[in-house]
Symmetry: D2
Subunit: 338 residues, 4 copies
């Protein structure tokens, strides 16, 4: 960590600061330039509060040299993490060269619906089934999901098709209901629900952590760190579009986040082109682009009857459209894997 001091700082002020830093087990190197004195802070600076330090009168600015995340950091874990989702013969690997497509409806609506979609996406190559049971909706008047009943219907679809299931959790109190869920999703709106992250850190089950609506890459990694610090290292990151000033798409899908994250962390990275764009017509080109950019997987909304879907029909593909997307993605994968 580097602290740049203001012009005109006295020796006494500087000595006081250094004494305080040393009391925090931080070693300090002093470098005096013509205009500016710079302190190099050496030691375990993850415990130094950068806001506090930069707020001191005598400090002009503070810059971190090392990232504040550890468990998620590729520097300390150079090899790719491969997360195994589900058990037995249907178990699916994600990361380290293993690519997976998660597909299914935005919301679980009925037994018939979820089983129909599950069979269709499996036939097209999906290896995991998604479906919303607890739904975070911007309006209290919108459909909130079938909740516990939705989880049961997902479990039935798993029994029929063998596909491991992925669904979103919104409340740590619901964890007992998620016993049959193979991959627990934390939605964008809960990416910094730290109380929830801590509880998920106590599980052994894999977690799919979606990037917040306007989260930085560092914040995404710090949220992964919350889960990992609790002992659960099975975290899969998901880019799902970030907020921008433009209104033609719901979000801007930040595909450069894939290679950037690849450099910073060993965790697998998947992409959600459905929520990112909010428009079915854009899912195919963005799914192909995400694959070409090196993603470890995709999560795509598919509905057998998008017009009558209870939520987010606008961005759902029909099973036929999904089949086409899956084929094109597979072709891109063959180039990438070379």
């Amino acid at each position: 960590m580097i602290a740049v001091l203001r012009n005109g700082v006295t020796e006494t002020q500087m000595e006081n600061l250094i004494t305080w830093l040393r009391s925090q087990n931080i070693d300090v190197h002093i470098s005096k330039g013509a205009y500016q004195t710079v302190l190099g802070l050496i030691g375990d600076t993850t415990k130094i509060d950068i806001d506090l330090l930069s707020g001191l009168d005598i400090v002009e600015s503070v810059m971190r040299v090392t990232e504040p995340f550890k468990s998620a950091n590729r520097k300390f874990h150079p090899d790719d993490t491969v997360v195994t989702v589900g058990k037995g013969e249907n178990a699916v690997k994600i990361g380290g060269g293993s690519f997976a497509i998660i597909a299914g409806p935005c919301s679980v609506e009925s037994k018939e619906q979820i089983i129909t979609v599950a069979k269709a996406v499996k036939a097209s190559g999906a290896t995991l089934l998604r479906g919303g049971a607890f739904k975070p909706r911007t309006s209290p008047y919108d459909f909130q999901g079938l909740r516990a009943e939705g989880l049961e219907l997902l479990t039935e679809a798993k029994k029929v098709t063998g596909l491991p299931i992925v669904t979103e959790i919104m409340n740590a109190d619901h964890i007992p209901l998620f016993e049959d869920v193979d991959l627990i999703q934390v939605g964008a709106r809960n990416m910094q629900n730290f109380e929830l992250l801590k509880e998920l850190g106590k599980l052994k089950k894999p977690i799919l952590l979606k990037r917040g609506l306007a989260a930085t890459i560092k914040e995404l990694l710090m949220s992964a760190e919350y889960i990992m610090a609790g002992g659960n290292e099975n975290v899969i990151l998901c880019e799902r579009g970030i907020r921008s000033y433009d209104t033609y798409t719901r979000n801007v899908l930040d595909l450069s986040a894939i290679p950037v994250l690849r450099g910073l962390t060993h965790l697998p990275i998947i992409v959600d082109p459905s929520h990112a764009t909010g428009v079915a017509r854009l899912v195919k080109p963005m799914a192909m682009a995400a694959t070409a950019a090196g993603a470890d997987g995709l999560i795509i909304e598919v509905h057998n009857d998008p017009k009558n879907a209870l939520c987010d029909g606008a961005q759902s593909l029909t099973p036929e459209q999904f089949d086409d997307v899956a084929k094109r993605v597979e072709e891109i994968r063959r180039i990438i894997a070379k």
Copy 2:
């Protein structure tokens, strides 16, 4: 709600859509132009999913004419809501011409600290005491607050000074611990933690709802709507800065949100200049500006020893600095109140 149809839509396609809309109790007016056919949707369109509609192949775009929030909407409740916080002689009114300053440390650290700060801010004119017990921190390695113990220390400070207390909740399971808290704060990171909002909607206690890191004004009002739809109409909104591309301040304080919200809603609106800017030096001008823009109150961080504060010292004022800010704000209030 207005739906613009794509060029080349057939009569049959349009009839199908209209039949479906009418089955949702929506009346439809058709307006055909030279290039475009436009449908006017009349009735209770809050239940129409705008994403679903705009995702249909035959629909080019959809625009809402009425806002999707009701309880929070000034159209249906023209008079300003005045929220009373605390009981008896120390009760404080916020909104409808009543202005309040909430002040106190970022984190409660010790009995001595919180009582010292509480007395100081009261002497300078603050009428409510803030202090963090449960702290949402970006890093799992940063100080997470004294939690339940912090709440007890706040209660002691209330006994000593009479100031009603304000503190943040991060988990609905903690509600029983908040019995003595007079105003429960929902932080920016939990603005769309809908499970939490629903539980707070069941209380009678006032809620201070902070705008999310990159939330739109409409999203803030929809989150207020979650609380109000549950029956709790005592909601105070708080602008605390929004995310931007610039790095000189932590956030951009969106003061135009005050008059914009004033037009849209009857709820009181306060401003947090401390978290918005992250820098003590900027708190005074922004507190004055927020007051001049018509805010119903301020929430300001004050610490007796900012350098040694366990969190966010950079943005805390000393009691002396706070006293100066409070005086200047009072002068601005006199102009506004004329």
Copy 3:
């Protein structure tokens, strides 16, 4: 265009507005709902100032139903525009299924440098040569380009290799110097330099129009419209990353802009992965992703000696790296073109 009137508007006020609109040759349909009266404006609304209308006291909001761009609008020109750059046997087509790679150094530095790079990128499959002569730099103290001399060196490289040349213009006064330039680039910072756009609209030469640092898709199309309204329909659009709140990459490359623009306009769309990311390591995955998303071409920085480049060395590829990128892009193109 739709205008929603405020509650409580009198008949007289509404009549006055309608009379004024009709005097502008706009026909008006009135639709009265329970809460709201909505006016449908029919006719050539491109001349109605949306800001003026929405600013009237009696108007609550105004929404455009048709886009304000015409010449660039796919609705009125359904077929893809194919732009031909350069003359004779070295002419290159861009758009409508024809894909092109533009490559070369950020700045032209010397005769030897530009010819070396030109030969290298041609050997790897580039069909156009780029090179900066007039350079827009954020700091007045940074290298500003060789200016007129740079243009001469580009012309020499064209003579040697046959590659048509692409370079940026910053000032309409320089147009006479650009006679030998085959494709004139308007940089992101000048996307709304309307005086420059108007002058370029008088030329017959193709224009490469880069999206502004934080321009919306609509603004990009309106700037294309400025050029086209003058009579020059040879416009190629370029996505080059937009500003975001994150700092890990210089910009966020908005690849969903490709399919979105494809729907809105008939103009060709290329992508600049070098400026978007600012980091050489990210150019390859983003070039592949852009191609997979359906771009009509790429513009990539290549330098024979990136460490000593006078500008933007950080994002330049070596000729060997470029050769690898070009091969991978070609493989993706084969899938797309199926």
Copy 4:
């Protein structure tokens, strides 16, 4: 400037880098930590291209310790700059405690209009007259201003009222036409039109430099630096709202930019609440807030007949509304000036 090297850099690689830096007259301090080697670069680092350096394979990140602007930097010019606009008895000072209100119509439309408005705003306390002659409009089909004729009408209004005049320039070729203009405005869309800035740097006339649509504070100062580097130190900065993801206001007015800029630069800072919000109703609260935040002046749109204004009527005040705003601003000023 600080350069953090990647792990695993060899001694030879580091030596090569240091040799190259020393050849650029930069002295280098080496600081080796357990995980990381950090280089401190000492000397005139304004000439080091930060993008180039951070792009080298062996460099992980680069951070500037000193700002890249000099002439505009308060560090080297601690006293506030006071800019004098106009001549003789009507000259107006801006900055260093002198506050000025610039008012007038968005566009000059006719002799009668500009003189009527000029007299009205003078009577209410404005000391400078604004009016657009050359208008940057997003659409080529919108009114582009009266151009040279508009400048003549402004000059006539100056003769009648004595008010110095302020108007926007869009093209360096027009400089000769601006001889009678007292303060030349560079609009947001031209903030990085560096060719124009360089030409304005050769004048002696004061320049009003508006912040770009999504410009950082540093970029604004670097654009001021372009003008000042040419020898013209009479630059006034203008905050006019920045782009955000919300759509309720046209821009977000960044009032914290005032105290932030105050710390970084000695140049005067004014605020444009009209363009920032785009809505007349928001101008008054934002004008008062800007004044309370410490601005050196305001620029406000006033029109005698906003409904029929040729552009931006939505955000123009009537003379009566302006009179009210000016009075309130004056009251706030009295508090600030204490």
